[in-house]
Symmetry: C2
DNA sequence: AGTGAGTTCAAACGATCGTTTGAGCATACG
DNA sequence: CGTATGCTCAAACGATCGTTTGAACTCACT
């Protein structure tokens, strides 16, 4: 091998994240994308095979780490002697907010929200096949902690909470935080809002 | 005037609603759209001026009625001697669910959710200019009913509730209802879920 | 019957899309 | 040194995009 250029691939993935968040998957063209990344137009098809494969890799790069952190945090919560609902929700929410540490991690949540709103079948299938087990594990935990809820009632609430969180986190990083508040504090306050809301949405009488 | 064909315009608007919901604004081409509507390709530019203007009209056709119903329902609630939070939320939610009476009314909520997730500036400005006063009026009502909440706390909760409702209603009409449940009952049950969730999300301690 | 405004139509416009090609360049290995 | 491999590049491919054009058609009105 010569260059083994993971550099070009990474530049493309980074630019794709920005442009997919801004213009959507259809709206962002490979020419805009490769120009922003400073690479040749043909590089996308050479390194990824197609635009659709690139989209999948954009998700993979973030979701592998994100959902890994979530499951890790959930396991840690389950290791304690008593499991609290808010801790389970924190295990789901905090890793997502931590993404904003990365350069464009916050933008990725916008990409995710787009994919959520587009009811594109192939993309949903890809996400379901690769990361469906995460949501299933959290759902199982919710069912255990909220035994008073019927199955359909629980699914309704999880769906609503998911919608709320996806929407809110897609806007995170956009809202200007007041001066005098550190980024860490800001993220902490946001996590607090989301967790308390999710607890109320799931467990209200 | 000869034809004064409101017929062609309506066929286009109907097909646009379906295809925008299914493929997105960029993903749905005027050729697919006019073919589905059974009209000539040039008809869109003749009757609407451009594709972007067509998008605006798709929103106008539904949102004028939808937000009108919402304000009407809100006025009716405010006319009573005491205003309850769940009634205000019902005034916001029920008109949206009633859209599913219409042929493709339920699909329109998908279109709306898409516009919500895409952070397209020109579309957001259009919606804000034309229908921003509705959200402002409801927000004012929420502030009155929840005086214990700080301004920022209230905005957080409204944002989260809005995200949840938009997501949920964009999926309404997709979920198959159990046999033996009438469409009216189904809508009533859905409204109940959404309203109780929204009450909990807004007013939790 | 004839005029004219409103509408539809097939055809074409230039632009841009995702993808492919083949030559050129770099580096590692015999 | 020579050659093979991985990668980049400019250029082109056919397809499809939104939009425009000018002729054909419809129908109310004089």
């Amino acid at each position: 091998m010569a260059g083994s250029s993971t550099l070009t691939k990474e530049r493309i993935l980074g630019a794709a994240e920005v442009l997919f968040a801004r213009r959507g998957f259809d709206g962002a063209s490979l020419r805009q994308l490769t120009a922003a990344a400073g690479v040749n137009l043909a590089a996308v098809n050479y390194h990824f095979g197609s635009k659709e494969k690139l989209v999948e890799q954009v998700f993979r790069r973030r979701l592998d780490a994100l959902n890994g952190s979530r499951l890790e945090a959930l396991a840690k919560v389950n290791g304690r002697d008593e499991t609290r609902l808010e801790d389970v929700l924190a295990a789901y929410i905090r890793p997502a907010l931590d993404l904003s540490n990365d350069d464009n991690g916050a933008l990725f949540m916008r990409v995710l929200a787009r994919a959520f709103a587009e009811h594109d079948d192939s993309l949903r299938q890809f996400l379901s096949e690769n990361y469906g087990h995460v949501m299933r594990q959290f759902t199982h935990e919710f069912a255990r902690l909220l035994p008073q809820l019927s199955k359909s009632e629980l699914y309704w609430r999880i769906d609503l909470v998911t919608g709320a969180l996806t929407h809110a986190m897609s806007g995170f990083g956009m809202i200007q935080r007041k001066s005098g508040v550190s980024e860490h504090q800001h993220r902490e306050q946001t996590a607090d809002h989301l967790i308390r809301f999710a607890v109320a949405g799931l467990s209200h009488p």
